[in-house]
């Protein structure tokens, strides 16, 4: 990769690459949420006319994929806050009742890539889920700070995701051939179930009603296929830069 001296390397915060790579280049891009793109964050839960500000509430995160799968919540008290830590923007979910979600139908195989930092750990709280109470969840299960993926079958995740530390979670939901990776560590592979994802829920059970996680979220990328190793590497590097990670 050529690097031109003096050339501005990317136009948005922390792209992590000298090229103009963005998740929009991924095949089968289904949804894309970016906490660092302030033009997609709004205080209202519908309508979305007032931009969110740092240390202010976020009622809507608009989908950047072009598919209009925007995420919101059912009550004003359930809105997370927008935070800025160094140069990294992230949404802070309070673990009480904050969540953002939308519904759609998305059968496996699916690739989801997220940027997270766990603020605290409570058994069974869900970092991410589908759109119903029976979905594709990554939950705080086992012993802090352990996680578990479950779309009908449980697959335990181990890795370096200590409380407070940012990490990139790459999920490949593909029945018995599923794979879950933390940053660039060895992936956990095997059967995580075959549930169709009925949507996308951040920081709560898929119906948005309970199991609220206390977590920082940098963004998510969802594709309706299993991505190539090259595409995954690019996406992880891009989202990792958002979280202040060099992957």
């Amino acid at each position: 990769m050529l690097v031109r001296v003096g050339t501005l390397m990317g136009s948005s915060i922390g792209t992590g690459e000298a090229s103009s790579w963005t998740p929009s280049l991924l095949p089968n891009l289904f949804a894309w949420y970016d906490a660092a793109d302030l033009t997609t964050l709004f205080q209202e839960r519908s309508g979305g006319t007032t931009p969110s500000v740092v240390d202010g509430v976020v009622g809507t995160v608009r989908d950047k994929s072009g598919n209009a799968r925007h995420i919101t919540c059912s009550g004003d008290t359930q809105r997370p806050l927008l935070r800025l830590s160094g140069s990294s923007y992230r949404l802070e979910f309070d673990g009480v009742n904050d969540n953002l979600r939308t519904t759609f139908t998305l059968p496996q195989p699916v690739t989801r890539i997220h940027g997270f930092a766990q603020i605290s750990w409570t058994s069974t709280d869900r970092l991410v889920d589908g759109g119903s109470s029976v979905g594709a969840a990554v939950s705080q299960v086992g012993v802090s700070p352990d996680l578990q993926a479950n779309a009908g079958a449980a697959l335990n995740l181990t890795g370096e995701f200590a409380i407070g530390a940012a990490f990139i979670l790459t999920e490949q939901w593909n029945g018995a051939s599923s794979s879950f990776q933390i940053n660039n560590e060895t992936a956990a592979t095997g059967n995580a179930g075959t549930n169709t994802q009925a949507g996308f829920t951040m920081a709560a059970r898929g119906d948005g009603a309970t199991l609220y996680a206390n977590v920082h979220w940098y963004g998510s990328i969802i594709c309706s296929s299993i991505l190539s190793a090259s595409d995954i590497a690019s996406a992880k590097k891009w989202l990792g830069a958002r979280a202040g990670l060099s992957l």
């Binding site: 839960r45 500000v53 240390d55 009550g75 004003d76 008290t77 309070d94 059970r205």
Partner: protein, 133 residues
């Protein structure tokens, strides 16, 4: 200490707890006051002294402005209510004052908010009723 940008008013970590028999009217206040959808829910965390159903109270955590806190204080003191279409959601001013008088309110500065909800529950002898996953 929370960051402030461009003169933005700081938000206050606010825990609100309402008795179960006031929940319906509390949600109606949310519809009238901050345009919550009719099927939306603000007080969605079920609580009881034992942590077991049935819920005796419902709680929520939100980020409020000082203006909201001042408005709530005035309502709890029976002094005044903000202008809102109470009748359109089936409430009288007496209903709204009753909810406010019942409401348990706890505030903390942003930056001191971690564990606020749990502390407010403990201070009021309540526990969250957690539904099994």
């Amino acid at each position: 200490m929370a960051r402030r940008e461009g003169g933005v008013e700081p938000v206050i970590s606010t825990v609100l707890i309402v008795s179960a028999d006031q929940k319906v009217n509390a949600e109606r206040i949310a519809v009238a006051l901050w345009h919550q959808s009719v099927d939306g829910e603000s007080y969605n965390v079920p609580l009881s002294a034992t942590g077991m159903a049935p819920a005796t109270h419902y709680g929520t955590h939100t980020w409020a402005t000082q203006q909201f806190i001042d408005m709530l204080s005035a309502a709890q003191a029976g002094e005044s209510l903000p202008p809102a279409p109470w009748g359109s959601v089936g409430l009288t001013e007496a209903d709204v004052y009753a909810v406010c008088a019942d409401l348990i309110v706890s505030e903390r500065e942003d930056g001191q908010h971690q564990g606020h909800f749990d502390a407010a529950l403990a201070a009021n002898g309540l526990s969250e009723i957690v539904e099994e996953s």
